[in-house]
Symmetry: C2
Subunit: 99 residues, 2 copies
């Protein structure tokens, strides 16, 4: 597992506009809003199954219909291909208008 | 829905020692640690189903095997009987040694 290069990181934030760099520059964060808790937790469950399959887990905060997700790869102190894979999945299952 | 009285709040924190007052004194927070993400998210799922049945939802943060939960009732600006019910459920399903 390697840390994304600077150009790869730039590409990450272009490819996944819902995400922006975390304050410490070691991760990518996004906030989503859903119709209600049921929908938010349904999305969380899909991400949880994917994350556990990958053995690569998000940091996330939820209250009612809001979900904040931070992706980072602690082993490399930044973003890695695993974060690209998880961001790809998240972006696929969350419609754009909820970003 | 009424805010718990001061004696009722004291009783809350005696009955649920995993919880302590939030900094703003309007809620109760607890941190739990599990064997892995699978176990943490399993517990979250049980709490989510209960919360949605009650229409009373936690604020929570999860990363891998760690889970931070805050209970509060925004409508009363503090703890209510709904928080007692949710704390009772959480305490019942999370073994003490994981508090």
């Amino acid at each position: 597992m390697k840390k994304l290069s600077a150009p790869e990181q730039d590409r990450f934030f272009e490819d996944f506009p819902a995400f922006s760099p975390t304050d410490n520059k070691e991760g990518a964060k996004a906030s989503f809003k859903f119709d209600d808790f049921n929908e938010a937790f349904g999305v969380m469950t899909r991400i949880a199954i994917k994350a556990d399959q990958m053995d690569h887990h998000p940091e996330w905060f939820n209250v009612y219909n809001k979900l904040d997700i931070t992706l980072t790869t602690h082993d490399v102190g930044g973003l890695s291909e695993k974060d690209v894979e998880l961001a790809t999945f998240i972006t696929k299952i969350i419609p754009e208008n909820q970003g």
